[in-house]
């Protein structure tokens, strides 16, 4: 392993510890919500009780598109996003691009939502941010993603903050690698009855060693997403395009073809979807139409990676004729190393390249990283406690955040279940999170010892996890039979996972309590 001189090792330990303790709690929040957000799509289906069958792109979409285009002002025909939303509904966002006062390019237009029979069930005017914001039935999954992406801090500061946290994670991973002299020798060593410092040190270093490669990957890709739009694009636009992000977008993502604004009916989208499915073997996940109704219209279909690959695929078609043009790289018009690297950032970060199997692995890695962050914070505190400098208040903060955050997320889910049928979930999901957070903080002030505080939080977590499936069913969610019949085993799987996780949490507490009691009796016997 890497052997640093004594002074440098001490410096690295200080860098590792202080970077962790200063940003560790926020990093923990980002990692924990990221771990849950790996299953955001499935949580969306589970929480809203979506049981409709047949993807939106399996139905004819060209006729509703042409019909809605006729009633939409021509200014919004600059681009159309076509996507699946809610319970297999179809979303169509006719929009134009405009530059905001801060130089950022934003979308503005009219969004339609069509149910499975093709009826317009929703119409909304606004910016892309408003249109794709949380709605009543996806408030929970949206809340999870927003917490992970920017901790609910306004743009651009939230993204900058999570980007910095990603860099802090990289610093902690590199310094951890440098200070650990016996990385492989200690990879299986977990002392359970040693001093508190050794127990916590082993837990932290073993989990950290196993998840080290992924700490690099997830921290790097996460920082990339945070800094790409907030720092990267504005800087490149300023340096090479006179500050115009629109010019940047056209150069980097544009077709490079000569504009032809003459009017032309856009070719059949149904034919394009069928052709794309034949080429890739799967339906698109998203479609964009640029310059709708013009001779130079361009349709791009976006797909998940092909079997064995991790790079998402997108295909380009001529809008006017529906003719296939080529596969589209994520950057520029020709395949490049930069384009491939940019394209794989998403799958590497979200772990969605091989469906549920890869998502489950990424969830496990997220859990390991939560564990590393939390045990790292505890180790820092236990070392100082053993060294005589008591930081009881910080220990309590670590407990309140470490256990209070998952508790508050469960509270948000329960708030969602009760309020979704009333149509008020967009407000009550974050409100429930805040109410449960306030209760956890209050417990931090009132419960006399840190041990009791930890136990109280864990009991509450276990109880809410066990109660989650019954609450979902009682508030109108589909039963297991209906979910399985509709081809949604995920609803049953998440119910089982939450219930079993709750039972495991409570069982561990009971086992720990029994062990404590038997230790007390063992100590009392010789005294008697």
């Amino acid at each position: 392993m890497i052997h640093l001189p004594r002074e440098e090792t001490k410096l690295m330990v200080a860098v590792h510890g202080w970077s962790g303790i200063i940003l560790g709690l926020l990093l923990y929040a980002v990692v924990l919500t990221g771990m849950v957000a790996v299953f955001a799509e499935e949580i969306g289906v589970w929480s809203a009780g979506h049981v409709a069958q047949g993807a939106a792109f399996e139905r004819p979409i060209d006729a509703p598109l042409q019909k809605l285009a006729r009633r939409t002002p021509a200014e919004f025909h600059e681009a159309v996003d076509v996507y699946e939303v809610g319970d297999r509904n179809l979303g169509l966002f006719f929009h134009l691009h405009e530059t905001a006062p801060n130089g950022e390019v934003i979308e503005r237009g009219i969004n339609y939502q069509l149910d499975r029979s093709g009826r317009v069930v929703g119409e909304q005017r606004g910016t892309g941010e408003q249109v794709f914001g949380p709605s009543n039935d996806d408030a929970l999954s949206h809340f999870l993603i927003d917490t992970h992406v920017q901790l609910h801090v306004p743009d651009p500061w939230g993204l900058l903050l999570t980007g910095i946290l990603g860099l802090a994670m990289l610093v902690a991973a590199i310094s951890g690698l440098l200070i650990h002299r016996h990385l492989f020798k200690d990879i299986f060593t977990l002392r359970r009855s040693a001093s508190a410092v050794l127990v916590d040190r082993d837990r932290h270093s073993v989990a950290g060693t196993w998840s080290l490669p992924f700490a690099f990957i997830l921290a790097f890709t996460g920082s990339f997403f945070s800094f790409y739009g907030t720092v990267g694009v504005p800087i490149v636009a300023m340096a090479a395009f006179g500050g115009s992000q629109e010019a940047f977008n056209e150069t980097v993502y544009g077709s490079g073809e000569k504009p032809d604004p003459s009017p032309r009916i856009t070719g059949s989208l149904d034919h394009i979807v069928a052709d794309a499915r034949g080429r890739i073997g799967q339906l698109p996940t998203f479609i964009t139409i640029e310059q709708f109704g013009r001779a130079d219209a361009r349709v791009t279909t976006f797909h998940d990676p092909k079997a064995g690959g991790i790079e998402p695929v997108s295909l380009i078609y001529r809008g006017a004729t529906g003719a296939y043009v080529r596969e589209s790289p994520s950057i520029g018009t020709r395949p490049s190393v930069g384009g491939t690297l940019t394209a794989i950032m998403g799958p590497l970060h979200f772990g969605n390249f091989a469906g549920l199997a890869s998502k489950s692995v990424w969830f496990g890695l997220g859990f390991a990283m939560c564990y590393v962050t939390f045990t790292g914070l505890r180790l820092w505190l236990v070392r100082r406690r053993d060294g005589g400098s008591a930081l009881g208040w910080l220990e309590r903060i670590v407990t309140v955040i470490g256990f209070g955050l998952p508790l508050a997320l469960l509270g948000a889910a329960i708030g969602f279940f009760f309020t979704m049928p009333l149509g008020t979930a967009v407000f009550w999901t974050p409100a429930s999170f805040l109410i449960v957070s306030a209760a956890a903080i209050l417990a931090g002030f009132t419960i006399p010892t840190n041990g009791l505080l930890m136990r109280a939080h864990q009991i509450a977590i276990g109880a809410l996890l066990v109660a989650m499936p019954p609450i979902r069913l009682l508030t109108g969610g589909p039963g297991w039979g209906a979910a399985l019949a509709a081809g949604q085993p995920m609803i049953v799987a998440i119910d089982l996972m939450t219930f079993l996780a709750g039972v495991w949490t409570l069982w561990r507490l009971i086992a720990a309590s029994r062990a404590d009691n038997s230790n007390v009796s063992a100590r009392l016997k010789p005294a008697e």
Binding site: W210, F214, G308, V361, W362
Partner: protein, 87 residues
């Protein structure tokens, strides 16, 4: 393919966990049965499926194997058999 590769590598990791000298020493267990050379062979065997997947250019399977081994290895390290020595 990634499932077979992962199962094989995890079996090797389990063997390495069982025979790990430092773990055995801290658990106050008697010395293991495998020599250093045998354990090194196990390490190579554990890595072999990943190398094959990487050489095949199967990025998805390689990442699945790597991630599963990371999570599985951590779980194996946490394995605490009933009646194992005091640590």
């Amino acid at each position: 393919m990634p499932t077979t590769a992962t199962v094989f590598s995890l079996a090797m990791l389990f063997l390495l966990w069982r025979e790990n000298p430092k773990r055995r020493r801290t658990a106050r267990l008697p010395g293991g049965n495998l020599t250093l050379a045998s354990r090194q062979l196990c390490v190579m065997a554990a890595l072999l499926p990943g190398i094959i997947l990487a050489l095949q250019g199967n990025a998805s399977a390689f990442l699945m194997w790597l991630g599963s081994c990371a999570v599985g290895g951590w779980m194996i390290a946490n394995f605490h058999p009933i009646g194992s020595g005091r640590q």
